[in-house]
């Protein structure tokens, strides 16, 4: 069968696209490879999505979005797309379970946490190095934790981690934070949070679990090794230095810029009938509120595209 619209990814962008498409009575399928929600699912507090104040965690917000999408009849499946063929009028997506066909496609694959890219990081992921505070904070109760980064996510997660850790040190490559002022104030007033300015992590070390790391001062060039407290035996490093777009699948197929998909303001890519929405496209602000907006626009434009290009 040929769907009107297939959406790849069930984060806020994909779910919003699904909502708008199914409300427009498009025969819509949302394909997700892990679980609904995407990155926001691991966020403890979502305070900047308009209307979400009470009980506004990532999971509750997503739960409500999924419920809404289901109510309007969009179909959802769990599958991973391995290959796409956008050359014909009917777009073909090959998954691990099935092959899907659609008149139009919305790519809402989002982004994944960006690694530091230093030696030892990969080996020690899940062994002291983490990209998800809500997942792993509990391990570090009364231990020391370092947070790498200086944006909203880094500082917010550092504050969250103070509920568990004995001490949280923010390692930032500049001498001031980039996070919103209101978040910065909270961090500066938190007694458990310390700062290591002008610094980057250059190596993570440990036999099985994280035991030490090398930190370099970018101004003086001086490097020093920080060891775990002897009684603790380990410590945590939480990395929040941005994201990489999840667009590998579309390399050489869709026009991109630094790995992000290029679209016009109506979410059209360079391929007719293929739209992109959310964190995976070139844009200036990557938030839930812009992701859902992208999704809505993409779905409306997809409907228009289908009406203009397909009869019946």
């Amino acid at each position: 069968m040929v769907y009107d619209l297939v959406i790849i990814g069930a984060g806020p962008a994909g779910l919003a696209a699904g909502l708008y498409a199914s409300r427009a009575r498009l025969n819509t399928l949302i394909i997700e490879k892990e679980s609904e929600g995407g990155q926001i699912k691991t966020t403890d507090e979502v305070a900047n999505y308009p209307g979400s104040i009470r009980d506004a965690s990532g999971p509750t917000l997503i739960e409500r979005m999924v419920e809404q999408v289901d109510e309007f009849g969009a179909k959802r499946v769990l599958d991973e797309i391995l290959e796409v063929d956008f050359s014909g009028k009917i777009k073909v997506l090959k998954g691990t379970k099935e092959e899907y066909k659609a008149k139009a496609v919305v790519i809402a694959t989002g982004a994944v946490p960006r690694p530091i890219g230093c030696p030892g990081e990969k080996e020690l992921t899940g062994r002291g190095v983490s990209y998800c505070a809500t997942c792993d904070a509990a391990f570090f109760e009364d231990l020391e934790v370092y947070v790498v980064g200086g944006g909203d996510s880094a500082v917010e997660e550092a504050i969250y981690l103070t509920k568990f850790a004995r001490k949280v040190t923010i390692i930032h490559r500049r001498d001031e934070l980039r996070a919103a002022k209101s978040i910065q104030e909270k961090a500066f007033n938190n007694e458990k949070i310390e700062f290591m300015w002008d610094s980057v992590v250059t190596e993570l070390k440990g036999d099985g679990i994280l035991e030490s790391m090398v930190v370099k001062n970018v101004k003086t060039g001086e490097e020093r090794e920080i060891f775990a407290d002897e009684d603790d035996g380990t410590f945590g490093v939480f990395v929040f230095i941005g994201f990489n777009p999840a667009t590998k699948l579309f390399e050489g197929i869709i026009e991109m810029e630094n790995g992000y998909i290029k679209t016009d303001e109506d979410m059209r890519t360079n391929i007719p009938g293929v739209f992109a929405a959310g964190d995976n496209r070139v844009k200036s602000l990557r938030q839930v509120v812009t992701a859902t907006a992208d999704g809505a626009i993409a779905a409306v434009q997809a409907e228009k595209y289908i009406n203009d290009n397909f009869e019946d």
């Binding site: 691991t42 062994r127 998800c132 792993d136 391990f139 679990i209």
Partner: protein
Amino acid sequence: MIELNKENFEEEVLKAEGYVLVDFWGPTCEPCKALMPHVEAYAEKYGDKIKFTSLDITKARRLAISQKVLGLPVIAIYKDGERIDAVVADEATPASVEELIKKYY
């Protein structure tokens, strides 16, 4: 699936013969909770040759760390009490977990 804790971990995993799968999870770990129903389904499918167990790390943090688990989710395979393989954090998807299981089934 057998629920593990500080008391029975040694008996059920470290002293067990054959293959044991341990699903390390925590109540605030959303990826873990999303993965859990899939692991439960695999327990139905592959439970005849592999023993399926789960450990809530918030109830046994030191035990988890002693098993070199410091980040979730971790789906680990033990053979005769030795941890021999695992999928960790982002790598742990329903598909990768099934692949891991099939290697030892």
